[in-house]
Symmetry: C2
Subunit: 339 residues, 2 copies
Amino acid sequence: MKKLTLEEVAKLAGVSRATVSRVINNPASVSPDFRSRVQKVIDETGYRPNLAARTLASRRSQTIGLIIPSVTQSVFGDPYFAVLIEGISRACNLHDFTLALFLFHSEDESHRVYERALSTGLLDGLIVAADKIIDPLIPQLIARQILAVYVGRPPDVSQTSYVDVDNISGSFLAVSHLLRLGYQRIATISGPQDSAVGIDRRAGYVKALKQRGREIDESLVVEGDFCRDGGYTAMRQLLSQEPDAVFAASDTMAFGAIQAIREAGLKVPDDIAIVGFDDLPLAAQCDPPLTTIRQPVRRNGMLAVETLIEMLETAPHPPRHIVLPTELIIRSSCGALTR
Amino acid sequence: MKKLTLEEVAKLAGVSRATVSRVINNPASVSPDFRSRVQKVIDETGYRPNLAARTLASRRSQTIGLIIPSVTQSVFGDPYFAVLIEGISRACNLHDFTLALFLFHSEDESHRVYERALSTGLLDGLIVAADKIIDPLIPQLIARQILAVYVGRPPDVSQTSYVDVDNISGSFLAVSHLLRLGYQRIATISGPQDSAVGIDRRAGYVKALKQRGREIDESLVVEGDFCRDGGYTAMRQLLSQEPDAVFAASDTMAFGAIQAIREAGLKVPDDIAIVGFDDLPLAAQCDPPLTTIRQPVRRNGMLAVETLIEMLETAPHPPRHIVLPTELIIRSSCGALTR
DNA sequence: TTGAAAGCGCTAACAC
DNA sequence: GTGTTAGCGCTTTCAA
């Protein structure tokens, strides 16, 4: 059972190659009679067009790439990425696009991976989930004229499309909530300060405190890596400062922090209140249920795909910026329900 | 800056197309003189071959697909998949392959996704992380002569290549350990009984008990879904049976079970001991650290890729079966350290 | 509406 | 070692 080509299908149906192509790509343009004749042959033979040939001829692969550049183990150390991938994959399915996944696990790998991801022909566009404020990828994307949408604010906003959430407002919301509850020593476990998210979420923390006329106590600000271990380590460091509340810049770090608090013999939220950021599925399930800032991770992933597809279809394309709001989700870890 | 073709590079270098092609694909077959001349042009112009054209002509795309068929949210409800993807991606990078990711989130999606994944031309082969014992995919793979490697034992072992771990021995190890520690009422939270892993891990539980002459108490056997919620729910059901130890067929279910135990005011391992399966990164970090069966998830992912690539290069290819051993990792949740 | 024919950009025999 | 020449299987003008 060798592989059929368009040519052979055409012969079997007694029509030309072009007609078969039309039946596949634009059935309405073929007369019902021909259409059904061709369709019959396709059904009977199980013919499937060769995607490489189609891509070459049409210059459209219906495939997009997702690049997640991450030198640390953090790609999957934080389930955030799993949810993001799920959203992206879902949108791809919806629009009949194929998703190519480019992860890299070390700096060394990055060159070879970029090489593949940036080479022409196979990919219609790229979604980039990079969050470093210095990103070597962007100049290359521009030079090679590769369509891309960032997830998270990229370094150069003027030339690059992205979808993001309002991180500053989000963390402002979180910290204001803690202030409202009357906490006095509010610490934060921030994200890396070489990433836009990390910077913004810390900025929201500062903004909320300042708005209430509070001074920023630098000893209450510790940098984490968005992962559980980072949260754990940061919290152990914070314990000596005796905070009564902590805003962690990701749920995953909040989980690590809670463990550190427990191991110190303290209780959440009675001794130390915690608020996270993300509202991952686990936030609602864990013990105690986590008060957190909900951001639409899955939706953002889907939006990134849809934005990219739109740009694909309507060149030329000014960069698009989509920023979604966040929402405070109150559960028990902040003490709001018990105080 | 329009896109360059081989042809144009050849003209610029004053050689034939074939020579440029050789420089790219097999530099050793070109004289140093010509090679450097061509290479210079490539470097200066930033030329990149068009992958679609290359795929069409060579019938090799250097791309493999990963199919994770999962009707539930379980794809990313269990970090197991994240680790697996990481391994697969890593091996792809190592061998300069591109990874296409096919997830589906509902039964409806499956048809369209399969259509893409099975269509010709774009993919050299497939890795399938399906674990249902009835798998509609296999006949199609065979009919279309698509090279595939399963992760986990597939329904029809005689026609399909796979990599797996010895699940029966693994859970046998886990339950034997609990027996050795003297537990009397050992329950299990099993995986779904329509999956090979689910069945095998329950079989290991039964085997260990029988070997010690114990009867199987059906009220101590509850089916979960490998996810946290499933473990939680199953454990709540088990609590009324007052087990003194539980073997959970995945770490993720073990985490859910621990939460249920805590909420009931009981302690792990003092009141109920727990053993998991997988040894996910979180198993060592959580509280209490989880005794579990380590399986080489990442390594299995890499092996799947490497097996597939080998098969790609050496047709015809009898199905290959690789089964790796597991290992008992003793931490605190089983009580071994305190009893 | 349908068909003929010209590519899409590359690889791979084959000849030199 | 290098160039010539056919394709790979499809889409897409352009005529009919």
